[in-house]
Symmetry: C2
Subunit: 246 residues, 2 copies
DNA sequence: ATCTGGTCAATACACCGTATCGCGCGATGT
DNA sequence: ACATCGCGCGATACGGTGTATTGACCAGAT
């Protein structure tokens, strides 16, 4: 055996002068949910790259290693975060025969959630989202179209939903990228022109990009929201065109 | 550490027994281009997260810090990599009045480049791509539509290109994500069903996802290529529907 | 012959994800 | 009531990252 701290023998220090046991700081109760919420808070505030297991744990008054009881990898935390976003998307309103309205509400709901959590865009290129909320969202999307006029076969339904989703993903990425560019140079559009425009102007001045120059000069730059809506209508038109026509 | 440290003012060791100066390993000539190529090689082989300044430098027989003469940040390296991909996209064939063919060739060319460099999908959510090749690609896209019947105004042209691009981005992301999921479980579709299906089957068995179950059971799962083409046709139809009709 | 300026390698630092270890507490068996 | 055990958790450790700083070296100018 080994020397065990026992009152019978040496006990070098008396209780009075011996410090209390480190006084466990009330090990805060943990749950996957609390962990994910803390991570999302960090990501919302400072972006995905500010989410580290150490910081998440610190935000919960816990040591980093404690998280490994709830997750076995940081990637799993990211998966949970993505699924939490799906949980925020309101299920598309079931609007009877108005399948366009259904798909539009679906798209706008998703877009709104993604804009609330910019980092969501960064998680789209990772593995497919198979969490319960993601599945439920997919299920609701399919169900909302089920029985609408023209959508008889599951293939038709899935194709429509997938096409809208693909457009949606692209639109989210585009806008998030744009939004970050603006913020990086100073948040204001005027400031953006001041900061990034010199380079662009120099490029345009080379004459190698006449169409871009024309665009910069002549185009009516629409805001992101209405550009999104316009493209979405375009996709919906395309879907409609391929339905068995009444 | 310092074998030659004694070389103060006595020079105690004789030339004969003193090793030659470490014989600079012929500091390999560097260029932004070589750096980017090395980085792309790494990324193609092992994914974006395998690209570190240290490894890129090592691949070029250089110290990590040497790269900072050519880049001031790792992000800039990623920007250069993304722009290199744009450089690989063949300019859309100018096909006269066949604007659909133009947009299709554009989309397929981009998609092919993205599939050659899976990591490209990960760079889409970052800042907008403003490198010379990206600008040239955009310019070529706009120019290819200029003068096509119905595309009179720059707004019309830009809207069409942007809509296709957005769909394109989404489709690329989707397919890359899917592709990675397959590879993660063992590369083969049969193996994928063996590995990931148990979880999905359990989820479907709960009865909470009837539409998904129906999809799994009844749908004719098309391959990625034709699904992409179908969605693209859908978008093109939508664009056509909003043109001033002949 | 000495100084100088510019390149680059070496070193250092803060941070990351995670494997390992060992302490201390609660539960358990006697 | 006491001895023992298991184990959840913190501390520590390791190999990696991006990058700031430092300092050795060499070319060219004085």
């Amino acid at each position: 055996m080994t020397a065990r701290r026992e009152a019978g023998e040496g006990e070098p220090t008396l209780v009075w002068e011996r410090p209390e046991p480190p006084s466990r700081p009330t090990p805060s109760p943990l749950s996957r949910d609390r962990i994910v919420r803390a991570a999302i808070e960090l990501a919302d505030a400072d972006g995905l790259e500010a989410v580290s297991l150490r910081k998440v744990a610190a935000a919960l008054d816990a040591g980093p290693m404690r998280l490994y009881g709830y997750l076995s990898t940081k990637e799993e935390l990211l998966d949970l975060m993505a699924d939490a976003v799906y949980g925020e998307i309101p299920p598309p309103a079931r609007t009877g025969d108005d399948w366009r309205g259904t798909l539009r509400s679906l798209a706008h709901g998703t877009r709104a959630a993604a804009l609330r959590h910019e980092w969501f865009a960064d998680l789209l290129s990772g593995r497919p989202h198979l969490g319960p909320h993601a599945l439920a969202h997919m299920e609701a999307s399919l169900a909302a179209l089920d029985g609408a006029p023209g959508f008889d076969h599951i293939d038709t339904i899935m194709h429509a939903v997938e096409t809208v989703n693909v457009y949606l993903i692209g639109a989210i990425q585009r806008q998030i990228a744009e939004l970050r560019a603006e913020r990086a140079t100073g948040m204001d559009e005027r400031q953006w022109q001041m900061a990034s425009a010199p380079y662009l102007n120099r490029m345009l001045a080379t004459g190698r990009y006449p169409m871009l120059a024309r665009f910069m000069h002549d185009a009516s730059h629409a805001d992101a929201e209405s550009a999104f809506e316009a493209g979405l209508q375009c996709v919906l038109d395309g879907i409609a065109a391929r339905l068995p026509h009444p």
